[in-house]
Subunit: 155 residues, 3 copies
Amino acid sequence: MSIINPEDVLKEIGLELPETAKPVGSYTLAVKTGNLVFVSGQLPFSQGRLKFKGKVGKEVSLEEGCKAAETCALNILSAVKWLISDLRKVSRVVQLVGYINSSEEFTDQSKVLNCASNLFKKVFGEKGVHSRVAVGVNTLPLNAPLELSAIFEVK
Amino acid sequence: MSIINPEDVLKEIGLELPETAKPVGSYTLAVKTGNLVFVSGQLPFSQGRLKFKGKVGKEVSLEEGCKAAETCALNILSAVKWLISDLRKVSRVVQLVGYINSSEEFTDQSKVLNCASNLFKKVFGEKGVHSRVAVGVNTLPLNAPLELSAIFEVK
Amino acid sequence: MSIINPEDVLKEIGLELPETAKPVGSYTLAVKTGNLVFVSGQLPFSQGRLKFKGKVGKEVSLEEGCKAAETCALNILSAVKWLISDLRKVSRVVQLVGYINSSEEFTDQSKVLNCASNLFKKVFGEKGVHSRVAVGVNTLPLNAPLELSAIFEVK
């Protein structure tokens, strides 16, 4: 286990893990198989409501999209913690996939994702450096500006 | 292995595994690596033809999209059975990813996917509870209303 | 290890591995976890610039899209080699996911991906036969015509 607790790093940079929405029904927040944790697609929910709505490049600016990506990343961390109890067990952020609700002209999906990628690096150091997929889509559940899923390796 | 055979559950609810399209060429229906089976994206083919065509929220209703999701889920199960011979070897449905061919205004991608998620839960019980990603896209192969890929853990 | 070196096969068919862009910052080209390598989404960059730009079915033809898919596949192979040093260690191409920047009417995403799938089969033989997901999207980073990510199993 790391000596540094990722949750302490979050506190230092003024962030905290949001509460996870109670998973109900036929799917759940995250599933562990072997050493891998597959996290469900997370929307930028903060305190029970979507932080932004609409397409990046239209109703949502690049800066707002980036902030929303950080919120999704926090929700991903909450989901991982919900499943494995302690973020110190994370040994690697393996992959981040970002679907950005985009106007047809918007082509800066990578920049939107950077706020999520940078958060993982800050929180986990080199273990937070991940592979990444950034794509545009024409719409998302609840008209969210983006949705992020992730795969973590844990001990 | 489960005592209950997932195929018996399917029969009880009036469903059956479709025949799998013969895989040819440079890609295939599903690939096993370690304990994981990665299933190729499945379209709502039933008896050799697409059950519905077009965008959900436009040519295809939410209800039809949900039915199509169940058909995709059956095709996923067929692909898994084709690879591992016996669905009783499934130890967990790890992840379901759904790409919904959506009109720009359609934001109920999650509801469309529920018919697939619910089928996995019915067929595998708690082992069928999975992580999930639901996104909208502006078009799909053959103008299918949705495409589902999945990852299964097997013994 | 294979007796045949995948790089020799590439040379025989007149192709070569491009140089990989130096990974910097909080994400990287590819990450290894256990026996799996997750490769980041690759755009059709060739010698530092995008081979084609725009939507397949509009600014980019099916044939150009297919050529671009082969370029992405080469970039994927470069990323894998960068991580594991020797492509002879590849024991299976597990999955290829292709996001095709598509006009609303374009529904031949599968045909676009074939040039990537066929390359993997040529280079790795039966070990190159993979599971596959092909979807359309309304836009991509830098207005690339497609983006491909992949999972490889390595020894």
